[in-house]
C-alpha cells in the first residue's frame, strides 16, 4: 500500500500476470485438439440426430477426422515456436521432455484409433462420443505431461480418468463392459481421492503446490539438514499418498487388482487405448514430481518403488501362466512391464530415466503391434457371432490359415519375452544395466528370472499357433488394411531397431538430462 502524503488515496500494488503473451501460442496443439474435439462433437450431435439424413452412424467419419486432428496436433507440436517455457503463472511448462512425451502420446493415440476402425464396425460400437472421449483424454494427457503444479496435474488426471471411466462402459448391451466401467470408476475415484489427499497434505504443511518451489523447500531431505520449519515427516506422508495414487493409475502391484477385470471387460479397442497411452503420460508427470520435487526424499520412495517393482515383475510373470483368455494375459503381462518400468524409475539416476524412456518407447510399439493383431477380427466361430479373439486357443492353427500374421505375432512375442536380437531385448538389457549401475542387484536378478518365466507363456502362444490343431469349425477373413499397415510399421521397428538404436538413445539421454538438470 502506498500512502500519499496529502491524501487518503491508497494504491494497491498491481501484478502483471503475463497471461496473454506467449501462453496460448505454446499450447497450440492442445488448443487445436480440444477445439477439434468440440467441433466434431457438435457436428456429430447435429448430424446424427437429423431425420432427413436418416440418423446416420457417424463413428467412422468422426474417427477419421479425429485422426486428422491428431496428425495436425502432432505437426503443431513439432513446429512449436516455443521450446522451453514456464507458462500460465507457473502451472504449466514446456521443455524437451514434455515435447517428446506429447509426441509419443499423440503417436500412440493415433495408432490406437487407426487400428480400431474396423473393430468399431464389427462390434457395433456406434457411439461416436467414444472417439471424442478418447481424444479428450489424449488432450488431458498432453496437459498432464506439461503440468508443473499439483492443481493442474490433478485436473488433468481427473479429466483423463473421467473419460476413461465412461469409455470403459461404452458397450451398453454388455454387462461385462458395464461392470468394468463401474469397477474402474469406483476404484479410480477412490485413488484420485487419495492422490488429492496427498497433494492437500503437502499444501497444508508447505503452503505451495508448485513443483519447483517444493524442490526448494525440501532441500536436504528429512534427515540431514532441516532448512525449513515445515513438518517434513508429514510431507513424506503426503508423498506416500501421492505415490499410492500414482501406482494405482499405472496398475502397479499392490494396487493392480482392477486392471485384469477392467481390461478384459472393456471392448478391445478401448483396452488397447488403456494399455498403451496413459502410461507414457503418467510416468512423465511422476518422473518430474519425484525427481524434481521429492528428490531429497529419495530413500523412502525408492524403497517403495523397489518393492512395488519387484512384486509387479513377479506377479506379471507368474499370474499370466494360468490365464486362458488373451486380454487377461495381456493385462498381467502389462503389469509385468510396468514392474520393469518402475525398476528404471527406482534407480533415480540418469541411466535409470533413460532406460525407462527407452523401455516405454519400445513397450508402446510392441503393444501397438499386439493389439493391432487382436483387433483384426479374423476368426469367426459360427456364422452369427462377432469375429473376435477371446481365448488363447482361438489362435490355434493360425500358422496354416494366415502364416504371415502368425510370423508377425511370433516375432512380437519373442520381443516381449526379451529374446535377442529384437527390440525388447535391447530395452531390457539397458534397463538391467541401469539397475546394476545403481547397485540395485536384487532388482536385476529378479528381473532376469521373471523375464525367463514370462518367456514361458509367450512361447505358449507361439506353440498354440504353430503346433495345435483347431478345435471346431471356424472361418477366417482378411485383415483390414489399417491393421496391416500398423503391423508392418511396428514389426519393422521391432525387427530392425537393434541395428540402429542411436537416435532413440541420444534423444532419451538428452531428455533425461533436461529432467535432471
Amino acid at each position: 500500500m502506498v500512502f500519499s502524503n496529502d491524501s487518503l488515496i491508497t494504491h494497491f500494488p498491481t501484478y502483471k500476470t503475463f497471461l496473454f503473451d506467449n501462453d496460448f501460442q505454446s499450447f497450440f496443439p492442445e488448443i487445436f485438439l480440444i477445439g477439434a474435439a468440440i467441433f466434431l462433437l457438435v457436428y456429430g450431435v447435429i448430424f446424427s440426430t437429423s431425420p432427413n439424413k436418416n440418423y446416420p452412424l457417424l463413428i467412422i467419419p468422426v474417427s477419421w477426422l479425429s485422426l486428422l486432428a491428431c496428425v495436425f496436433a502432432f505437426l503443431l507440436l513439432l513446429n512449436s515456436p516455443i521450446q522451453n517455457a514456464l507458462l500460465f503463472y507457473n502451472t504449466l511448462l514446456i521443455d524437451d521432455f514434455t515435447t517428446f512425451l506429447k509426441a509419443l502420446i499423440l503417436f500412440s493415440s493415433f495408432f490406437c484409433i487407426f487400428m480400431s476402425l474396423d473393430s468399431f464396425k464389427l462390434e457395433s460400437l456406434n457411439a461416436f462420443e467414444c472417439i471424442l472421449l478418447l481424444v479428450f483424454s489424449a488432450c488431458s494427457m498432453l496437459f498432464l505431461v506439461s503440468s508443473a503444479d499439483f492443481i493442474s496435474m490433478y485436473l488433468a488426471i481427473e479429466l483423463q480418468s473421467l473419460s476413461f471411466y465412461v469409455v470403459a462402459a461404452i458397450k451398453r448391451n454388455s454387462e461385462f463392459s458395464t461392470e468394468a466401467g463401474l469397477k474402474y470408476f469406483l476404484l479410480g475415484a477412490f485413488s484420485s481421492g487419495l492422490l488429492l489427499f496427498g497433494c492437500s497434505l503437502i499444501y497444508g504443511f508447505t503452503g505451495v503446490t508448485n513443483f519447483s518451489e517444493l524442490a526448494q523447500i525440501f532441500t536436504g531431505g528429512t534427515q540431514e539438514i532441516l532448512t525449513t520449519t515445515t513438518s517434513l515427516p508429514a510431507c513424506e506422508l503426503g508423498m506416500v499418498f501421492l505415490l499410492v495414487g500414482f501406482l494405482f493409475k499405472i496398475t502397479a502391484v499392490p494396487f493392480h487388482m482392477w486392471s485384469p477385470d477392467v481390461y478384459e471387460g472393456a471392448p478391445t479397442p478401448i483396452t488397447a487405448f488403456f494399455v498403451i497411452v496413459p502410461k507414457a503420460a503418467l510416468f512423465g508427470v511422476f518422473l518430474r514430481i519425484f525427481l524434481e520435487s521429492f528428490y531429497d526424499f529419495l530413500l523412502p520412495w525408492q524403497k517403495i518403488l523397489l518393492v512395488s517393482s519387484l512384486c509387479s515383475m513377479l506377479l506379471g510373470s507368474l499370474a499370466a501362466l494360468s490365464q486362458t483368455r488373451i486380454k487377461r494375459l495381456l493385462a498381467y503381462s502389462s503389469i509385468g512391464h510396468v514392474g520393469y518400468l518402475l525398476a528404471g524409475f527406482a534407480c533415480g539416476t540418469i541411466e535409470g530415466i533413460q532406460a525407462l524412456l527407452i523401455y516405454l518407447f519400445i513397450y508402446i510399439f510392441m503393444n501397438i503391434n499386439i493389439f493391432a493383431l487382436l483387433l483384426c477380427g479374423m476368426r469367426r466361430e459360427t456364422l452369427q457371432t462377432v469375429p473376435r479373439i477371446k481365448f488363447i486357443s482361438d489362435f490355434s492353427f493360425l500358422s496354416k490359415t494366415q502364416p504371415i500374421l502368425a510370423l508377425t505375432f511370433t516375432i512380437t512375442l519373442f520381443s516381449m519375452a526379451g529374446i535377442p536380437p529384437l527390440a525388447g531385448f535391447y530395452s531390457k538389457a539397458y534397463l538391467f544395466f541401469a539397475t546394476m549401475s545403481s547397485n540395485l542387484y536384487v532388482l536385476a536378478i529378479v528381473g532376469v528370472v521373471c523375464s525367463v518365466v514370462s518367456c514361458f507363456y509367450y512361447i505358449r502362444l507361439v506353440k498354440i499357433m504353430y503346433f495345435e490343431g483347431p478345435k471346431n469349425w471356424c472361418s477366417f477373413s482378411r485383415i483390414p488394411v489399417e491393421n496391416a499397415l500398423t503391423l508392418a510399421i511396428t514389426l519393422f521397428f521391432i525387427l530392425f531397431f537393434i541395428f540402429y538404436p542411436t537416435p532413440l538413445h541420444l534423444i532419451t539421454h538428452k531428455i533425461a538430462l533436461t529432467l535432471c538438470l
Binding site: M436, V452, F456
Partner: protein
C-alpha cells in the same frame, strides 16, 4: 573383401536367393542351399590355408561399421585366432552334411528348413568370430531361435514340443545371468571389446560373482551334470540334421565360452572354482556313462555319450596347462566329427525302419556290410581307439589333468573304460548277433549319398588321429597366449 565377411554373408545371400524360388521346386531349393553351404566351406578352407600360425593375435580382423552406428558398446568386430578357426571350419563342414542328410526325408516346408539352416550357419560363424562380449551374447542367444524351430517343426515325435520348450528355457535361464554379468562388466570397464577386457582386472569377489554368472550360462550349454537333461530330450526329438548340428557345434559353444571368456577374464575365480568343475565333470563322465548302459533309444545313447565327452573337455580346459587345453580343443573337434557321424548312422537306420529302439535291431551287419564297417569305425572312434582323433584328445586331456590332480585323472580314466562298455555293447547288439527278420524289413545298404556323406568323417578322423600336427600347429600360439594371460 575380407574373407570373414564373405563367409558370414554367403549363407545369407543363399537365403536371399531361396526367397525367390517357389515352394514347389524342392530339388532346386535343396541344390541352391547345398551349393551355398559348400561354397562357404571351400572359402573357409582358404581361411585355414591363409592362417598365420606363428602369432596369437586375431587375424582377418574386420570392423563392421554400420552407417551411423555410434553406440560405443556394440563393436561389430570380427576376428579369428587359432581356436576360432577350427570351430568355423567345423561349422561350415557340418552344415552341408546336415542339408545332405535331409535330402529325402524332409518333405514339408523344405524352403523354410533350408533357410533355417543357412541362418543358423551365419549365426554360428558369427558366434565364433565376434570379438565383443555383448555381441557374443546376442548371437549365442539368437542361435536358440532357429534350433527351437527346427526341433519343434521337423522333429519326429509328439514329445518334440516339450523337448523344444526344455531346450529353449533351460538355455535361456542360464544365459540371462550371463547378461547381467556382461552389463556389470560394461558398467565397470566402460567397454565390451574383448581385447580391451583381456587387459582389465576385476576384484576377487567380483570375479567370483561374474564367473558364476558366466558358468550358469555355459554349464547349461556344455552340458554339465545337474542341468544336462535337456540334451537327451532335444537329441531324441530333433530330426537327424538337427541332432548333427546340435552335437557337432552347439555343445561346443559352452566350452568355447569357457575358454574364450571365463578363463582369461577371471583368472582368480577360475582357480577358485577348478575343484567345482573337476567334481562336476568327473561326476558327469561316470554318471552319464553308467546311465547309458540302461538306455534303449539309440539316439539317447549317443546323446549321453556326448555329455560324457564334453565333460572330458571341461576337465581338460580347467587343467590350465598346454597339454590339457590343446587336448580339450582336439577332443572338441574330434567329438564334433565323431558324434555327428554316429547320429548320421542312426539316421540311416531310422530312415529305413522308422524306429530308434534298440530292441528291434540286431544283426544289421549281415545285410548292411558297408554300414557295419562305418558304424564299427565310428564306434571305435567314440571309444578313443588309438589311431582315431579322440584318442589324441583324451590322452592329452588326461596328461594335463594328471599334472594337476592325479586322483581326478584316475576317475576320468575309468570313464574311458565305461565309454568302451556302452559303445561296444551298442555296436554288438546292433551290428552282430542273430538277425530279427520279423522286425527288419528293409535290407538295403547305405546309398551312394549316405556313403559319401560319411566318408569325409572317416578321412578327417583318421587324419586327426594319425597326424594331428596341422591342427595342433595352428592352435599352439593362441592356446599358450590364452593360458599365460590367465596366469
Amino acid at each position: 573383401m575380407n574373407l570373414i565377411s564373405i563367409i558370414l554373408f554367403l549363407p545369407l545371400f543363399g537365403v536371399l536367393l531361396l526367397f525367390f524360388v517357389p515352394n514347389t521346386k524342392t530339388q532346386l531349393i535343396r541344390r541352391i542351399a547345398l551349393n551355398t553351404s559348400l561354397l562357404t566351406f571351400l572359402i573357409s578352407l582358404v581361411l585355414w590355408v591363409e592362417f598365420d600360425s606363428s602369432t596369437a593375435r586375431f587375424q582377418f580382423l574386420e570392423a563392421k561399421a554400420i552407417y551411423g552406428f555410434s553406440f560405443s558398446s556394440f563393436n561389430f568386430l570380427f576376428g579369428i585366432d587359432g581356436i576360432s578357426l577350427f570351430f568355423i571350419l567345423l561349422t561350415t563342414f557340418l552344415i552341408p552334411i546336415c542339408l545332405l542328410v535331409s535330402w529325402t526325408n524332409i518333405q514339408m516346408y523344405v524352403k523354410e528348413y533350408c533357410i533355417a539352416f543357412l541362418v543358423l550357419e551365419t549365426l554360428l560363424i558369427a558366434v565364433f568370430s565376434v570379438l565383443d562380449l555383448l555381441l557374443f551374447y546376442v548371437f549365442f542367444e539368437s542361435v536358440l531361435i532357429p534350433m527351437f524351430v527346427i526341433i519343434g517343426v521337423w522333429g519326429s515325435r509328439e514329445r518334440k514340443i516339450r523337448a523344444a520348450y526344455q531346450f529353449f528355457l533351460y538355455t535361456l535361464l542360464g544365459s540371462v545371468f550371463m547378461l547381467l554379468a556382461i552389463l556389470l562388466i560394461y558398467f565397470q570397464t566402460g567397454t565390451t571389446d574383448l581385447e580391451v577386457l583381456y587387459c582389465s582386472n576385476f576384484s576377487e569377489t567380483r570375479q567370483i560373482f561374474l564367473w558364476l554368472a558366466f558358468f550358469a550360462s555355459f554349464a547349461v550349454k556344455v552340458p554339465m551334470v545337474p542341468v544336462h537333461i535337456w540334451l537327451p530330450e532335444a537329441h531324441v526329438e530333433a530330426p537327424t540334421a538337427g541332432s548333427v548340428i546340435l552335437a557337432g557345434i552347439l555343445l561346443k559353444l559352452g566350452t568355447y565360452g569357457f575358454l574364450r571368456f571365463s578363463i582369461p577374464l577371471f583368472p582368480f575365480a577360475t582357480f577358485y572354482f577348478t575343484p567345482l568343475i573337476y567334481t562336476l565333470s568327473v561326476l558327469a563322465i561316470i554318471y552319464t556313462s553308467l546311465t547309458t548302459l540302461r538306455q534303449i533309444d539309440l539316439k539317447k545313447i549317443i546323446a549321453y555319450s556326448s555329455v560324457a565327452h564334453m565333460n572330458f573337455v571341461t576337465l581338460g580346459l580347467f587343467s590350465l596347462n598346454t597339454q590339457g587345453v590343446e587336448g580339450s580343443l582336439l577332443l572338441m573337434l574330434s567329438h564334433g566329427l565323431v558324434s555327428p557321424a554316429l547320429f548320421l548312422c542312426i539316421g540311416i537306420l531310422y530312415d529305413r525302419h522308422k524306429t530308434r529302439l534298440l530292441r528291434y535291431y540286431a544283426g544289421c551287419g549281415r545285410t548292411m556290410p558297408i554300414f557295419a564297417l562305418l558304424f564299427v569305425f565310428f564306434t571305435m572312434a567314440n571309444i578313443s581307439l588309438p589311431g582315431t582323433s579322440s584318442f589324441i584328445g583324451e590322452f592329452l586331456v588326461l596328461t594335463g589333468t594328471y599334472q594337476n590332480n592325479s586322483f581326478i585323472a584316475l576317475l576320468a580314466a575309468t570313464g574311458m573304460v565305461l565309454g568302451a562298455a556302452y559303445a561296444l555293447w551298442l555296436c554288438n547288439r546292433l551290428i552282430y548277433g542273430v538277425i530279427k527278420p520279423h522286425f527288419i524289413h528293409e535290407w538295403s545298404d547305405v546309398t551312394r549319398r549316405e556313403f559319401w556323406m560319411l566318408v569325409p568323417f572317416v578321412v578327417s578322423i583318421l587324419w586327426m588321429g594319425v597326424y594331428p600336427e596341422p591342427f595342433l600347429d595352428a592352435l599352439h600360439c593362441s592356446v599358450s597366449n590364452l593360458i599365460s594371460q590367465g596366469m
